[in-house]
Subunit: 207 residues, 4 copies
Amino acid sequence: MNDRLPAALIAQTARANEAAILNAALGAFGEQGFNGASMREVAKRAGTSLSNLYNYFPSKDHLLGEVLRRANAELATRLHRAVVEAGDDASSRLREAVRAYVGFVVDHQLAMLVSTAEVRYLRGPERDRLVAERDRTQAIVTGIVEQGVASGEFRTPHATDAGRAILSMLNAVASWYRADGRLSRGQLAEQHARYALALLEAPLAHR
Amino acid sequence: MNDRLPAALIAQTARANEAAILNAALGAFGEQGFNGASMREVAKRAGTSLSNLYNYFPSKDHLLGEVLRRANAELATRLHRAVVEAGDDASSRLREAVRAYVGFVVDHQLAMLVSTAEVRYLRGPERDRLVAERDRTQAIVTGIVEQGVASGEFRTPHATDAGRAILSMLNAVASWYRADGRLSRGQLAEQHARYALALLEAPLAHR
Amino acid sequence: MNDRLPAALIAQTARANEAAILNAALGAFGEQGFNGASMREVAKRAGTSLSNLYNYFPSKDHLLGEVLRRANAELATRLHRAVVEAGDDASSRLREAVRAYVGFVVDHQLAMLVSTAEVRYLRGPERDRLVAERDRTQAIVTGIVEQGVASGEFRTPHATDAGRAILSMLNAVASWYRADGRLSRGQLAEQHARYALALLEAPLAHR
Amino acid sequence: MNDRLPAALIAQTARANEAAILNAALGAFGEQGFNGASMREVAKRAGTSLSNLYNYFPSKDHLLGEVLRRANAELATRLHRAVVEAGDDASSRLREAVRAYVGFVVDHQLAMLVSTAEVRYLRGPERDRLVAERDRTQAIVTGIVEQGVASGEFRTPHATDAGRAILSMLNAVASWYRADGRLSRGQLAEQHARYALALLEAPLAHR
DNA sequence: AATGAATGAGTGTTCATTCAT
DNA sequence: AATGAATGAACACTCATTCAT
């Protein structure tokens, strides 16, 4: 009875619980929607008690906020990495960005689903903060589009709107993709890169 | 006290009430989501009593089902009309279809929003029936795409998936369009027609 | 199965339910305090369901407010009647007022207890409104005191404060009175009238 | 890490914590009522953790009990001292007692408020014990009254009840007194001494 | 077709208290 | 003595739905 968990392990436990709750919330919100999922359901999925949830997140809204924030952070990280490692021309940068984006959607389909479907239930400063973060993430893609239009690599006359259209397309993948489907992860990414470049009217030389 | 409304007038009243309820439901579901909106809220918006709702629709689920069904029917009607009036080649048929689709999104933004966001809360045969109807509607667009690919008018190698990508793009318009925004209805339609044809890699001669 | 309750009876039923709920709330708040009593407890005492409570009162706070308002209204009515029927001099007016006050405390001990102990849990405009009403009621007594001091009937040099002291005394009766106690209702009233006049230093001629 | 606080200092710390908790509880119970205040709130006010409260007091009830016990002890001490230092006749003893009582109410208004309002939430032997202590305290005042009535100094025919009426008056001061009000501490005491003697119908010679 | 009253299950959240360390 | 995590019961309130009329 003299055994004590070292402090580091305790911290790990706490963090593990937090992660379990966030995952549970993601699953519950994803399957039943934010309003359709109950805190009781989240607790059950996380393997803890209802009231213990409130030791980690002060409210259901905050829980949703944190779920969305983490999803966006991961997506942003992936996009940054992809763009940094890509070449200098807009086409190859866009191709890598789209690949990374699709990769994220496939790896974190539920997170993407929840991200697009449940943001609307966030209110107040929590919402504003998240919207700002998401805008920054999306700007990685739209920025490339604008760069390419400016440089003449993309010939579309609608720089701003075309970027949004591409993002819509990519986000929507989460709503129909099945891991056991016809298309592999790589094919999916490749296809969407092609859609994007075509939509932007990049000349064949640049694709 | 012997006065009775003639049957025709009663029917008219009933139909007016039904429409009021459906509109109220559309508004409530659109603003608060299916699970976030209560039947009380719908009743308040419709200007009737909570319990009277059940004289028109047997449950909240049926109410949602009917809202979605009507939205899809109107969209299908518009698409049909547009395609019938278009030329014979896939490009002009697709352009008209996209125009009609965007027109519907603009005219019935809330309906489109609800249609994409809240279908998931429908269950059972109600759901199956609706999904089938929506598939038929979307097939109008994807059919054109496949026709064009088959005839060589569209050069994309991904006939099926490209159609889906285009639909995603169009549906997403509902989530950001503002009537007082930068783009007119016509410009919006035109732009999206161009996106679609570019994405499908239609040669310039066909655009 | 053709029997229908006449509209008047329905109204009576509704009113009876309202009264039952108010009585239940009075009992629960009186025995367990506002915060100690639950709406479930109130519902149980009223013989109805928890949720049905909310068809009559929009919140626990409103329920408390209404309980207090009714108690004050009844007290005010009794005081008015007593004062109107009393003579013209301050002494006899005060005596009748005190008698009526004590009578109310004895008849509605619980209401008086709740009135003094639970007002503090009322908040917002509900509270302000009630405080104003209570002030008007207490002014009936303090008014007589000031009248008597002005006319020289009462010789106390502390007109305003003495009135408050008397009211404190009377209110406190609710906290110890027992119907099966040593003193009859009449004796209790008589005693307190005497205390009040003595405290105000009314000369013996006026008592 | 070998340093240890000397036992005396630990004891002092412990006592300081205990006092902080009792004060916090007094404040919380006073402002929100016993049932309205949470142990979390008490902990926050005391500047310690929720669970640490239970190292000092085994339950919320015990905490309330201790708060009330201390308040009563202080009041009793003050009353004793005042009476001991007063003259021999009932009038001057009562006057001093009233002065001390009012002084306590002014100095420890919150304690007095809590004492009268929250005793009711005490149960079991805890309650009995406290009630007995309070009775002893109040007997200091009522004893003087009875002594004075017996000696003829007070002419009221209601020895027992008059004492209670006076105590009611004095207790109630806590519910309206404001430090920045019209009356000074001394004036307040003087006034109430006068009320008490008048109520007891002490002849002018004795006041 | 229309209503207000009624209900039981469920909501998010807080409670006093205990546990492990 | 001190903490943060944990819990089960309870809280006020709302839900979709039904009933009686």
